[in-house]
Amino acid sequence: MYLLDAAPAVPLDLILGVVLFWLLIGVAGVLRPRSLRFVSRLLFPLGAVGSVVLMLAALLAVRVPPVVAVLPLGLPDLPFHLRLDALSAFFVMLVGAVALGVSLFSVGYFRRGEGALPGLLCLQYHVFLSSMVMVMLADDAYLFMVAWETMALSSYFLVTTSHRIAEIRRAGFLYLLIAHIGAIAILLCFGVMHGGGGDYTFDALRASELPVFWASTAFLLALFGFGAKAGLLPLHVWLPEAHPAAPSPVSALMSGVMLKTAIYGFLRITFDLLPTPLWWWGVVTLVLGLMTALFGVMFAAVQSDMKRLLAYSSIENIGIIFAGAGLAIIFHAYSNPHLAALALVATLYHCLNHAFFKSLLFLGTGSVLHSTHERNLGKLGGLIRNMPWVAGLSLIGALAIAGLPPLNGFVSEWLLLQAFLFSPGLPNPYLNMLVPLGSAALVLAAALSGYVMVKFYGVIFLGRPREEKLNEARDAGIWERLGLAWFALGCIVFGLFPMAVILLLDHVSLPLVNFTLSAAVSGNSWLLFAPVAAERASYGPLLLLLGITGTLLVTFVAVRVFYHGRTRRGAAWDCGYPEQTSRMQDTAEGFGQPITQIFEPFFRVRRQMPDPFSSEPVYAKTNEDHLWYWLYLPIARANERIASWIGLLQHGRIHLYLLYSFVTLLALLLFMH
């Protein structure tokens, strides 16, 4: 701390140093692109060291006042402005923390002969990481957009690592398309905020006094642009395509951190750059968020590809995060700083949690994929016996994502629900009655995510192997285990010590909504956690864990002492039908069936029924997305039609093209005249 007092810019320098270091690693990878040993045994561990430094530096930076710097890079008159404040430091920390685990995992993950050259991959990977850090550090719209586009491009190349497969190229294209539509909206948003005077530094944007109409326009553009990146309804379609296409460490990074850059941008613009929000901004965000959460979890429940399932679950979590942000905006608009801080902290907490548990699960699927070469849930099963490490660590992730105490997912959902429980105090009579109903949607999403996780975990790791080859599956190597363990540790620690996280997040919420939660309650001990007032609500995860494990041990010992520990092994009961095979277990589709049945209107279900006399009956069922047919295909068709009109101009004859140029020239001359 003394060090920091003397030189408050130290964290920023360290972070920039790490960015440079990462870029150098990337370049080094290109020097020996074919050497897997060099890249994965030397460069990735070095990258992991860099992320440790990054994480610690950002952790320090959260607590100190903002630091600014100007880098003499970029265009001649447009130097890069940098600023490290609590909000950006928090998200930089997220990058560092996730990058650490993913880099460790990647050391053991990449194999010879898969997709792109290792060196190239190393370059793209580290450029991707650096660009995300630069997005958080940017203090002018120009640098922000440059970093944002670099991020989009590098992640596009990472997604299309196995570009020889047409499906993956298609997924990459869809991703790139929506990322760019979003980027245009963000660009326009900056343009609107700029308002025609001054320059594009964030300071200038903050200072520009926008009329209400333009502020609202800027907000909606930001919601659209960042929503496209985050996977908010109806711009979510790229997510379930791109995530399964990418290699697992990349999916983990994209889901864990890249989606959060969109949250960062949204929070930065709404709470920092724009004037005090209007209440309906919050309502729009809240409703979209809740719809996204429900949509994501319902679709997750019917997936049979494990990475698609996780991608839809990411959509759900993004929905929850946006719902929290919306609630924070509503409370902020009604100038209730305490509750705004509560909702905002819940939002940020969920960002942190999602980064950890989703990365954990994506990496877990990566390990499963490597040892079984199978992504289809219908061909997996029983892996807990061959892969105990991956199964054990993934269990922590699955329980955390299902929002179960005492792990981390529960804390943020609990906080968010507390914020919802206060909404009847809002001055708007419509809101104070309808927002509580929104909390029911949130709980439904959380409960269904429990359903999804039981399906995910149960079908992959439990039961009997559905295929013969699964018996040869081997557990992950030591590096992969290390990566997984780091994320699992995070899930446990953030779950058990919420006070520590809140104290950190207070630094972030203070400048945004002028309130800290810890200031509200003085009597909080590290054991108990009461964000509003002790008699209002409290939660003690450690005490909870202590109670459960204590009882568990006492029961275990008591049963052994008073009775016995005798166990016999036998065959599972076959219900009187001895010819069961492991293929007769519940499939992923079967597990999702009740959800399709109950929420049928939300799916575009197509069933192919077998003919009763068919000797080889085929039953097929697909659950598709209505939005694809209602929104995307019409747009695509309209686009095609316009393109075909324009295509009329194309003849392939040079003299006609010359004629076009000639006519254009004449028209311009006439016009200028």
């Binding site: 029983g382 709980v443 429990g450 439990l462 039961g463 108990l528 029961t555 599972a572 277990q585």
Partner: protein, 317 residues
């Protein structure tokens, strides 16, 4: 220091009380049902006998049962005991109460449920996963309703801690709260669904097509089954205790009033007795629903709870 010891003792008494009377509660419910159906039912002590017998037997495990399968009964038992120790039943001075408010309590129940569902899928029989998916389905639909139920007392008391809710509601002036009545109806519906009672599940059946809870525990035997059944009884009793705390809290002693505790125990037993009769009546007059009617049933529960919340906001009552 002395207050801590008192709180610890009170906590221990209450938790043990719930854990010990839980099988009796089930026995009583079965007894009442037998009366209403003109049968001579088993003794009210039958659940204890079953537990003793099961503890005595060897545990028979499937060849491929993993650690998860063996540990799940203990986790469930631990969760249920913890849940039981958070709900004030005879005194509001509970050591563990600040550790979990009503929302965290729902979380603890969910933890136990997820473990039981995962354990059911572990062996890889069709019935296990069928039970797991039905159980998770019913639970995910009942949780929103349960949250809405909690909303109404929460709005009245402005706290989600059960201790505070009981302290406030038990010592208020008498007033009619139609909103609480709505919430109570919804709560009973959720209670039936979450505890695998008619009309969602039939605890007396082993008919494959309809069972939920029984399908989940089909592979268990011996001490594991005993723990699960006991945990199930504790869960049921805890739900009844939550209902009492929210809707009829009169008679629960305030913190430190240890001299009121014997009276509180009597009051508690009377209330539980009435709840047993009421639920037996409900189960006798209603029939089990098809599984895909369950969403509608729970939707109704949600509606009642939401109406309760709305009446509270509309009328202030």
């Amino acid at each position: 220091m002395l207050t801590h010891i008192a709180a610890f003792l009170s906590q221990l008494t209450q938790t043990l009380l719930v854990v010990l009377i839980a099988p009796l509660m089930l026995g009583w419910l079965n007894q009442c049902r037998a009366w209403l159906q003109n049968r001579s039912g088993p003794s009210v002590l039958q659940p204890y006998r079953v537990l003793l017998k099961l503890f005595d037997k060897d545990a028979l495990l499937a060849h491929n049962a993993s650690v998860l399968f063996r540990s799940a009964p203990y986790v469930q038992f631990g969760c249920m005991v913890l849940a039981a120790s958070v709900v004030p039943i005879i005194e509001t001075n509970l050591l563990f109460a600040p550790a979990a408010d009503v929302i965290a309590l729902v979380g603890v129940f969910a933890l136990a449920r997820v473990f039981s569902a995962l354990a059911a899928m572990d062996v890889g029989t069709s019935f296990g996963s069928l039970g797991a998916r039905r159980e998770m389905l019913v639970a995910s639909l009942s949780e929103p309703a349960l949250l809405m139920v909690f909303f109404t007392p929460l709005l009245i008391v402005q706290s989600s801690s059960l201790n505070v809710i009981v302290d406030t509601l038990a010592h208020r002036e008498f007033a009619l709260y139609p909103s609480l009545a709505f919430a109570a109806v919804a709560f009973i519906m959720v209670l039936l669904a979450e505890n695998a009672r008619i009309p969602i599940d039939n605890p007396a059946t082993h008919l494959e097509l309809t069972m939920i809870h029984e399908a989940l525990i089909l592979e268990y035997s011996g001490r594991h089954l005993a723990l699960i059944e006991w945990a199930h009884a504790i869960k049921f009793t805890t739900y009844c205790a939550i209902g009492i705390a929210l809707f009829v809290p009169w008679g629960i002693a305030q913190a430190g009033a240890w001299w009121l505790m014997p009276g509180a125990v009597v009051v508690l037993i009377v209330k539980l007795g009435f709840i047993g009769v009421g639920l037996a009546l409900l189960e006798t007059v209603s029939a089990k629903l098809r599984i895909f009617r369950a969403p509608e049933f729970l939707g109704m529960a949600f509606l009642f709870a939401a109406l309760g919340m709305l009446t509270r906001l509309l009328l202030g009552a």
